[in-house]
């Protein structure tokens, strides 16, 4: 056990030093030597990467490679699962998020959009106002303003403005997902994590969400997990390729897709496996 850990460590440190070169001072999220275990099973090995502010970072890789697991460490959603253990550090805005115990505050700063739209069985308005209300905002005017701004920010205001009081579950899947994005925006986060946000959507809705991501980039730092390599190429500035719980390559999206350094990355992006 100790021998393999050591080996992993060596590899990780190496990788980290090579990443160090591209490390910039304005990195919003800094991940260093992150190991994650589900009980005995290790799911992430020495993951290190820096995510710049107001950029879209895509995480790609085959199923089970750890990209979603990694994403969910960034707002500590893995805490919900019993037996998850983490080594290494994740620093967001110069604060190690696993040292501070205030996970509630972290999640108000780091929003999340899930694979399938998961609106609550409430009205559209109540869904978007849910987060702010739980923060103690009761003023009707303030809530109205937040809801409108958030829905506009998610490019869905025009479609739902006349039916804010009706059930959110009556919307189409694509509309629901954009209301989910509005719900995340309503918390005024800095970072938005998206876990395959378009995997349950039709091509037209997917396109709308992708356009939205491109717009949102100017206000938010976005990390998106995707199965769809074209999507990664279309929406992201940086791309990280995950394989078996490790980052194989992390670079500008253009580089990853046009001249990957690692053979495995090339095999994956050219569709030879995965």
């Amino acid at each position: 056990m100790s021998a393999t850990t050591l080996e992993r460590n060596n590899k990780g440190t190496e990788k980290f030093s090579s990443n160090n070169e591209q490390q910039t001072t304005d990195a919003k999220i800094k991940v260093k030597n992150l190991d994650l275990f589900y009980g005995e099973k290790q799911a992430l090995y020495q993951v290190s990467l820096d995510i710049k502010e107001k950029e879209v970072t895509a995480l790609i890789g085959p199923s089970g490679c750890g990209k979603s697991t990694f994403l969910r460490t960034l707002n500590r959603m893995n805490d919900l699962i019993d037996g998850v253990k983490i080594n290494g550090e994740i620093v967001i805005d110069n604060e190690n998020i696993y040292n501070s115990s205030d996970v509630i505050k972290l999640r108000t700063r780091v929003g999340m959009v899930f694979q399938k739209p998961n609106l609550f069985p409430m009205s559209i308005f109540d869904n978007v106002a849910y987060g702010p209300r739980m923060q103690g905002i009761k003023n009707k005017k303030a809530l109205n303003k937040i809801v409108e701004e958030s829905l506009r920010g998610a490019a869905i205001w025009d479609e739902v403005k006349d039916r804010l009081k009706s059930s959110a579950l009556g919307l189409s899947g694509g509309q629901q997902q954009r209301v989910c994005i509005a719900r995340a925006i309503a918390m005024k986060p800095d970072v938005i994590l998206m876990d395959e946000p378009t995997s349950a959507l039709d091509p037209i809705s997917t396109l709308k969400v992708e356009e939205l991501i491109a717009q949102m980039k100017k206000d938010y730092t976005i990390v998106i997990v995707t199965h769809n390599m074209q999507q990664a190429a279309r929406v992201s500035d940086k791309t990280a390729f995950f394989l078996n719980g490790e980052i194989i390559e992390y670079d500008e999206t253009d580089h990853i897709f046009s001249m990957p350094k690692d053979q495995r990355t090339e095999d994956y992006v050219t569709g030879r496996f995965g």
Partner: protein, 274 residues
């Protein structure tokens, strides 16, 4: 040949369904046919008298007392216990033991509970044969029912609701109150309806703890007679099937009204929350 098999199976299915409905219709019809001649204003709202068929108003009131008191005690305890077991307790051996215990409790014949109630509540706690002693016994009888159904209802709340809520920086308690419990409400209510049925239908345990006094109870510390006990006693003592059937009709109507109103409330609640 296959056609024949198909038709034969269909016939069997149809026959089973028919039989079920037929049994219900026959029983209700028989009771109604036997007893309806006795039903009139005085019979229902009159005071009991040993001569003739007597009024059953005291028994109706006693029955309502036992329902209300048992549910007032059992519902909050049951729901809180289920929430603890399902949402908070570490899923380990202790929880498994508690679950096994509650499951076993539902299978114990009510006469055993009656004996326990007669020894513990009536004698040891010196409550005497009384409505309160019977209600406490009934509380123990329906508690496992409420815990089980609430647990099942909580289990059906999708994980995505919990994740969606927690990812917005809410506390566990807020998520429980605003998202989980409202979504589980229909299931919880059906558990309460089930319990009401159990209480109204109980006779052995009440017979041993509330006694058989056929008069309007002065308080919840008085001994009194519920409808089922009354029905049992008149059959036993005077063989008056007609009177027992008339009481049966009233019981059926009470259960029907309770069920319908509970369904109505559950629909209302659902509408309020979508």
């Amino acid at each position: 040949m296959r056609k024949f098999k198909d038709n034969f199976m269909l016939g069997l299915l149809w026959f089973s369904a028919f039989l079920t409905v037929a049994v219900l219709v026959v029983i209700v019809g028989y009771i109604f046919f036997k007893g309806f001649r006795l039903i009139n204003f005085d019979f229902i709202f009159g005071d009991y008298s040993p001569v003739g068929h007597g009024g059953i108003w005291p028994m109706i009131i006693t029955t309502i007392y036992t329902i209300v008191i048992s549910l007032i005690i059992a519902t909050p305890i049951g729901i809180l216990a289920a929430v603890y077991l399902q949402e908070y307790a570490k899923q380990g051996r202790l929880v498994r033991v508690i679950r096994f215990a509650t499951e076993s409790l539902t299978g114990i014949p009510s006469i055993i509970y009656g004996l326990f109630g007669a020894v513990f509540f009536v004698t040891t706690l010196k409550l005497g044969m009384s409505i309160i002693a019977a209600s406490l016994t009934l509380t123990i009888i329906v508690l496992p029912v409420i815990i089980r159904t609430t647990e099942e209802a909580l289990k059906t709340v999708p994980l995505s609701y919990r994740e969606g809520s927690l990812a917005l920086g809410t506390t566990k308690l807020q998520t429980l109150y605003k998202v989980i419990l409202p979504s589980a409400m229909p299931g919880i209510l059906s558990g309460i309806i089930l319990s009401m049925g159990r209480i109204v239908g109980e006779s052995a345990a009440i017979f041993l703890t509330a006694g058989t006094v056929a008069a309007m109870p002065e308080s919840i510390f008085s001994s009194a007679r519920t409808l089922t006990v009354h029905s049992y006693l008149v059959t036993q003592e005077s063989g008056d099937i007609e009177l027992a059937a008339a009481v049966g009709i009233v019981l059926i109507v009470i259960i029907l009204v309770l069920n319908l109103s509970a369904t109505f409330i559950s629909k209302k609640l659902n509408k309020a929350d979508y």
